[in-house]
């Protein structure tokens, strides 16, 4: 292994973390602003021009807040839970190709691949890491020693594992078409023309994927984990200051991650004309984030039995049907 490999890897990881944390901060701004306009309000507008410094102000405020560890918590798991939910959210991005080969405006000695790790089983890795996210919620809910946290934790873990099945099944369709588990190969198979995008070969798979992804990230209309009207804030009720913001960051990082996976699997990844690849990648992710916020402004929350029924009795059979249909079309 050359020294260059280590340096390049480290530079890429540093860039990723920086971009990701900024993106998380500004997704909150984007969400508040868009939500505000959809509801005929103005949204954050005091901190800086158009309120653009609001995320910074929020971040600083959270750092200076008192870090409360309530009396009844299980201390070790309580401290571990935010970290456990933060790490998987970051790890997903390790295998997502964000650009073609690049050399960072000539700063790197030779062009390097636009992905942190070109894992040959990238799809399985994503699948595995997404499942890990549930541990953070369970640990937080159980260790807090508060009833709301416990209820929120149990509810959301049951919800997440139920939709996990549909999530994994919807990706099998893409693998059937691409015949590879490597995400860089999946992206290169989709390049060339708009009609190579797998959304056109897997429309049903994409619909199932996006529904499961929203349920996986506990977002409206599936946000039963933190149903404000009944559970206060769900599993992170007892958390404050930076521990709370770890959950907050990982929620937004997870949203960005499932959007990035959707872009990679169904919308051609970084491929696009004229603009540099990284811009296409970001534009497509932004479009997904907008849909996320739009959904939140549009739909009321599901009831819990509707949610579980929908996952097990509609999405699961539908996803199996999609797989067999795709297989039949591809093979026969």
């Amino acid at each position: 292994m050359s020294l260059e490999f280590f340096i390049v890897t480290f530079v890429k990881i540093a860039l990723l973390i920086f971009v990701l944390l900024t993106a998380c901060a500004y997704s909150t701004y984007m969400e508040r602003k868009i939500l505000a306009y959809l509801q005929n309000r103005v949204g954050p507008s005091y901190a800086g021009p158009f309120g653009l410094l609001q995320p910074l102000a929020d971040g600083l405020k959270l750092i200076f807040k008192e870090d409360i560890v309530p009396d009844r918590v299980e201390r070790i798991t309580f401290a571990l839970a935010p970290v456990v939910s933060f790490i998987p959210a970051m790890l997903i991005f390790a295998v997502i190709p964000f650009s073609s080969e690049f050399d960072l405006f000539g700063l790197l000695p030779s062009p390097t691949e636009g992905v942190i790790s070109d894992l040959s089983v990238g799809v399985l890795f994503i699948f595995a890491v997404t499942s890990l996210g549930v541990y953070g919620l369970v640990l937080a809910g159980w260790s807090s020693g508060s009833k709301y946290s416990l209820l929120g934790g149990i509810r959301s873990s049951a919800q997440m594992i139920s939709y996990e099945v549909g999530y994994a099944l919807s990706i099998v369709g893409v693998v059937l078409v691409a015949n590879t588990l490597s995400l860089t190969e999946i992206v290169s198979l989709q390049s060339g023309s708009l009609f190579n995008w797998y959304i056109f070969k897997q429309p049903l798979g994409f619909m199932i994927y996006i529904v499961c992804a929203i349920a996986e990230t506990n977002r409206a209309p599936f946000d039963l984990a933190e149903a404000e009207s009944e559970l206060v804030a769900g599993y992170h009720t007892e958390y404050s200051s930076m521990r709370f913001s770890m959950f907050f960051i990982s929620e937004y990082a997870n949203m960005l991650a499932v959007s990035a996976v959707a872009v990679t699997l169904f919308f051609g990844g970084w491929a696009g004309p004229f603009l540099p690849p990284i811009f296409w990648f970001l534009i497509k992710i932004l479009a997904f984030m907008f849909v996320y916020i739009w959904l939140r402004a549009t739909f009321p929350r599901f009831r819990y039995d509707q949610l579980m029924d929908f996952g097990w009795k509609v999405l699961f059979p539908l996803a199996l049907f999609n797989i067999m249909l795709t297989a039949a079309l591809e093979i026969l």
Binding site: T9, K12, I13, L16, I17, L62, I63, F64, E66, D67, P70, D71, R72, P82, V83, F86, I87, M90, L91, F93, A94, I116, S117, D118, V123, L124, F125, G145, S146, K147, Y148, S149, L150, I154, A158, I161, V165, A168, L169, V172, L176, N179, T180, L181, T237, E238, S241, M242, R243, S245, M246, D309, K313, F316, P317, I323, A327, E330, I331, L332
Partner: protein, 118 residues
């Protein structure tokens, strides 16, 4: 192999350190007061009642067990999906049989009402 796995390990370590630093930042910088009543679990402002460690519905366990079963069966689909074109008709029929067996189990648990929420 090393080239594929090392960056992931490094990202894992960086993310863990970052989370640790951010959390300890607020522990050291954040103001501190006596906990007192603040240390009680939040229950809308009134004194908390009873304990948190109470039994909860067994349905949640059922869902977790069923998830493990179905998730493992989903994993069997991935290797086939990668080489489905080479296996051709043979693989397709094999998988059809596999999915049918899966569906038998699925309808069995539906019939027993394991996924019924009311």
């Amino acid at each position: 192999m090393f080239e594929q796995l090392f960056p992931i390990l490094l990202l894992f370590v960086v993310a863990a350190v970052l989370a640790g630093v951010l959390i300890s930042l607020s522990i050291f910088i954040g103001r501190r007061t006596k906990l007192g009543k603040k240390g009680q679990p939040y229950e809308c402002g009134i004194d908390p009642e009873g304990t948190t460690r109470e039994p909860f519905p067994v349905k949640f366990y059922m869902v977790a067990i069923l998830f493990i079963l179905f998730d493992i069966e989903v994993i069997f689909l991935y290797p086939w999906a990668v080489i489905s074109k080479e296996l051709g008709m043979f693989g397709f029929i094999e998988m059809l049989v596999f999915v049918l067996i899966l569906l038998v189990g699925y309808f069995y648990i539906l019939g027993r009402g394991a996924l019924k929420w009311d």
